[in-house]
């Protein structure tokens, strides 16, 4: 580009930056967390190297540079105040701090008016695993002896309705659907009416994946929640944001935007069966004060477990 040559040093480019970075990053599996354990075990005093390593582990887990610094600052203060010298104690303090940040009370998924369904909306950006999560969630409700109905309000994505129907078949729950391209609010309306008529306990509404920057789609979502509220008192009772554990710092912005338009009440963290840690939820929980409800850990219908701050923090520091 012109501008580059205009400002740049003339002559052939030095290729070293690219090579250097590449060498430094390849073999990413060298185990930072394990090294940290060694460091903690073998070092008698807390020093800046140790804090740097802790920072690297946290940022590497997608906790984000800001949240990491805030938490580490709090820890540092505590170290100074309590005269904390032992690295093992520092590690404990850090884990306690993280657990505290993540531990938000999660009210039970119940409490609709007698005779009315408990309505759950599942929202999120494209490709995070909303439909799969709905399949697992439906299975969970069924297993605890409740009746469930699904609403196929993703009328946009090709074959989204078919995908939901396959999950519904597997769990043996009915789906209310319309044509592809139909108004999603109309699907919500139909679903809730049919659920009320049949006396269903739980309704789970699948929504189209939408980037939080698409204002028209976010407005559509707002309308869907409004329609639900008109149909059933207090609906949607639960609005779950599905966040993909591989997502980085954009996750917080997504959560903010969805909270603003749809009033989030909880988070489901998916794809935790890979190597990604999903640390961005720390920032989400800290800022929005909503609980992480479930964690998705695989492709089968059983792979949805309740979130545990304890286990989550463990995994952040695991290899």
């Amino acid at each position: 580009m012109e501008l580059i040559t205009l400002f740049g040093t003339p002559g052939p480019r030095d290729p070293t930056i690219r090579d250097k970075v590449r060498n430094a990053v390849s073999r990413t599996r060298d185990d930072l967390a394990a090294r940290l354990r060694d460091v903690v075990a073998n070092r008698p005093e807390i020093d800046s190297d140790l804090l740097d390593d802790l920072e690297a582990v946290m940022i590497g887990a997608d906790i984000g540079v800001r949240t990491t610094h805030e938490i580490l600052d709090a820890i540092r203060e505590r170290v100074a105040r309590d005269g904390l010298k032992d690295p093992a104690r520092l590690r404990q303090a850090l884990r306690a701090e993280l657990r505290k940040a993540l531990d938000v009370e999660a009210p039970p998924l119940a409490g609709a008016e007698p005779g009315e369904p408990f309505v759950v909306f599942v929202v999120g950006v494209n490709g995070v695993g909303k439909t799969t999560t709905i399949g697992k969630l439906a299975h969970r409700f069924r297993r605890s002896g409740h009746t469930v109905m699904l609403g196929a309000a993703d009328t946009f994505r090709a074959a989204a309705i078919e995908q939901l129907e396959i999950w519904a078949d597997r769990t043996g729950v009915p789906v209310v659907k319309q044509r592809p391209g139909a108004d999603p609010s109309a699907v919500v309306f139909d679903t809730l009416r049919s659920a009320a008529a049949r006396g269903v306990d739980y309704v789970i509404v699948d929504t189209a994946g939408r980037l939080h920057t698409k204002h028209n789609l976010m407005a559509e979502l707002e309308k869907m929640t409004r329609i639900a509220g008109r149909q059933v008192d207090g609906a949607p009772h639960e609005v779950l944001l599905v966040l993909d554990a591989t997502t980085g710092q954009n996750g917080l912005i997504q959560a903010r935007e969805f909270a603003r338009t749809a009033g989030l009440t909880g988070v489901v963290l998916t794809k935790l069966d890979g190597t990604a840690k999903g640390g961005i939820v720390t920032a989400v929980v800290r800022e929005l004060g909503i609980p992480i409800r479930f964690v998705g850990t695989g492709e089968t219908i059983e792979d949805l477990v309740e979130f545990s701050a304890e286990a989550f923090v463990d995994s952040l520091f695991a290899a």
């Binding site: 990413t28 590497g60 494209n126 995908q163 980037l211 939080h212 980085g248 840690k277």
Partner: protein, 453 residues
Amino acid sequence: MFENLSDKLQRVLKNLRGEGRLTATHVDETLREIRMALLEADVNFKVVRQFTESVRSKALGQEVLDSLAPGQQVVKVVRDALVEMLGSRTARLEFAPNPPTVVMLVGLQGSGKTTSSGKLAAWLKNGGRRPLLVSVDVHRPAAREQLGLIARDVGARVWEGTGTQTPVDLGLGALREARNSAHDVVIVDTAGRLHVDEALMVELDGIRDALEPREILFVADAMLGQDAVRSAERFHERLGLTGFILTKMDGDARGGAALSIQSVTGRPIKFLGVGEKYDALEPFHPDRVVSRILGMGDILSLIEKAEAIVDRKQAVELQKKAASNAFTLEDFRNQLRQVRRMGSLESILGMLPSIGPFKNLNKVDVDEKELTRTEAIIDSMTPAERRNHRILNGSRRKRIARGSGTSVQQVNQLLKQYVQARKMMQGLAAGRAKNTGKRKKGRRGRGIGRVPV
């Protein structure tokens, strides 16, 4: 959050003044902010560490160009280094000497492989190729139906195979079909998988060995975080990627993962996915993504794009007209068309940085239909009416409304907007005439004035 970051960076840049060569203070202060910016953009922390170290030694002692403040000079070194890392030229799709060329799309679940397959087919069709699509995703419910529907929408053929075939058989069937029916590209959509899922990775090996793809593209979500390096590295080790597609770039993620993936694979980004529609696939330009990762917006590319389309002469003429109050509805329509040729308004707005005067622009609701309506209304006028809007009385307006399928209110509203735009242009033209003498260096700033708004 990002706004704050950019603001802070701007402040640091301003505060570093003077001196002909870059000193350690200049470099370190700026790099601290750059480091934050890169981490916020999800560039892997190891990449960031090594990168800033390398840039530091490169920048130290460099001469500061006349037109730049020292801090800006550092950013410029950073920018160049980033462009260099991402590959300094636009990478192209490679075609096999003996068709059909097999292009295989791989990646994690939900990265956008199926949508990208459809977009790629549309892009190839546009370039005069005959793509055949095949989904070898036998795992995700309704995945193959999804590709079938997308293929129908973009007007490309899809090889269905049978429900019980293995991925390799499906792929081989498509390859045979392509040979028989003169399709010159086969796009293979594979199932999403985690890089730690050994069974599924073995499946990919098999597909690659059977189909011998010319291109193996890793489809990666622009929102990926720190783990992007791990998944990309594993896929690359296993399959030997030839490039990657960065999807969901129409969101507001900064896309630092692109840099991470590039670092561990050394392979170029070939395409960007920039929207829900099937034509929303763009060849990748490294410098643009770099601006975005740095959070400085893509203002340069916007100017380039605008300049490529707006004939300079026409622009000058328009400015003159604006100054002399001869800006007609015809000119208004021409401008509208030029803007629309630049792509969807949303994608244009997305290229602007989220700082300064554009801070809130990307939150503006954009209604593409509104533009179509406006064009229709102006099209329904007679040339005389377009040249002089003052003759538009009630009955003319009624006729125009009927002709354009709108209402008189909508015609009135457009006229009101036009009169306002006209006034604004006069103001701008007058203002610019005053300013040009004073601000010789503001090249970028002046360029923006040419963007028709």
